[in-house]
């Protein structure tokens, strides 16, 4: 299952997509995130997978801002930490 967490508003699309078929539940992404945006949840199919915390879903553009400088963006820590490549950002 691909889960899109975030929102679309007048300034654009801000979604973090987590592919639960790829997520192994290794929790590497959680410690990699400086803004503490991610957590592990048990989904409807009893898989333990990474997800964006509820309190960040409506402000994800701002929560993720520190990893997204306007010039020369380094690789995102959560994306880099995820070995199976389950995490993608839409912006």
């Amino acid at each position: 299952m691909k889960a899109n967490y975030g929102y679309h508003d007048g300034s654009g699309d801000f979604f973090i997509t987590i592919d639960s078929n790829l997520c192994t539940g290794c929790v590497e992404c959680i410690s990699s995130c400086p803004a503490d945006v991610l957590e592990m949840i048990t989904d409807d199919y009893d898989d333990v997978v990474a997800a964006v915390k509820d309190e960040h879903r409506k402000k994800i553009k701002y929560s993720c801002a520190e990893c997204k400088p306007v010039d020369e963006q380094p690789p995102l820590p959560c994306v880099a930490a995820c070995e199976p490549g389950a995490i993608t950002h839409s912006w």
Partner: protein, 266 residues
């Protein structure tokens, strides 16, 4: 076995009683400030309609924004999973469900078993939810139930430029001052919300057929705009705002059956 699905929505509490895959009782109560009271009232009136005793109930599953606040529920299901199972309950050929409630818009793509493949939720922006149409109908001084049919009379496309429900209201007022007919403004509102929902749902990929559920599925003006945007004819179930509760009841029945099987084996 009798199972119950409870959908604690942002505005209304919906309860569905299911027996052998058939809806035998349902109730909707506006939550207001007393969600607990509303939940009790909805449970009682749905059980009364179904004519069941409490000990007949095999399992109760809760879904919706307030699903953690249903003490009698034995387990819970996300809104996304519930929407998928509810849509599949009505339409076996549905593969995408669009659920637009009072304060949330949701797009879910699922497989033939009702397992979610991809989903997207928008709970931030009122311009993509039912509350938007309510506010615009109010601004136009048109009763909500006439707002949809009114927009069907329009044959003119007026783009709404505002990206935000609050600013859209002042845009509607400007259109009224410019002597724009109300029917054209109504259509502009429905086109705006439909285009927002469409662009969100395209993120998960639209797979035919598409079902529309949630309170906005009662609005013929919105359905018309959405059909035009998606270039398809969306399926509308009977009592669309109960769909998530039905999905929860279906899952409750499944999980209840599984639990009792497990109990017998051990």
């Amino acid at each position: 076995m009798v199972s119950i699905g409870v959908d604690m929505g942002a505005k209304n509490v919906k309860v569905v009683v299911l027996r052998e895959n058939e809806v035998i009782g349902k109730a909707l109560v506006t939550a207001g400030l007393d969600t607990e009271g509303a939940l009790k009232e909805a449970l009682q009136s749905a059980s009364r309609e179904a004519g069941i005793d409490y000990d007949e109930v095999g399992n109760i599953t809760a879904t919706g924004a307030g699903r953690k606040d249903v003490p009698m529920a034995r387990d819970e299901l996300t809104e996304v999973g519930a929407a998928a199972r509810g849509a599949l309950f009505h339409f076996s050929d549905a593969r995408t469900v669009i659920d637009v409630g009072a304060e949330e818009g949701r797009g879910v793509r699922f497989n033939a078993e009702g397992r979610v493949i991809d989903f997207v939720i928008n709970e931030k922006c009122a311009a993509g939810a039912g509350a938007f149409t309510e506010a615009m109908a109010r601004a136009l001084e048109v009763p909500l139930e006439e707002f949809g049919p009114l927009s069907l009379k329009s044959d003119r496309e007026i783009p709404m430029n505002a990206q935000c429900a609050v600013f859209a209201e002042s845009e509607v007022v400007s259109l009224v001052h410019a002597k724009t007919p109300k029917k054209d403004i109504a259509r502009a509102v429905h086109d705006a919300i439909a285009s927002r929902i469409t662009s969100m749902v395209r993120r998960v990929g639209v797979e035919e057929r598409v079902a529309l559920v949630g309170g906005l599925a009662y609005n013929v003006g919105f359905i018309d705009s959405l059909n035009r945007d998606l270039e398809t004819e969306v399926l509308i179930p009977p009592d669309p705002e109960y769909t998530a509760a039905i999905g929860a009841a279906v899952v409750a029945a499944e999980r209840g059956a599984k639990a009792s099987e497990g109990g017998e084996n051990s």
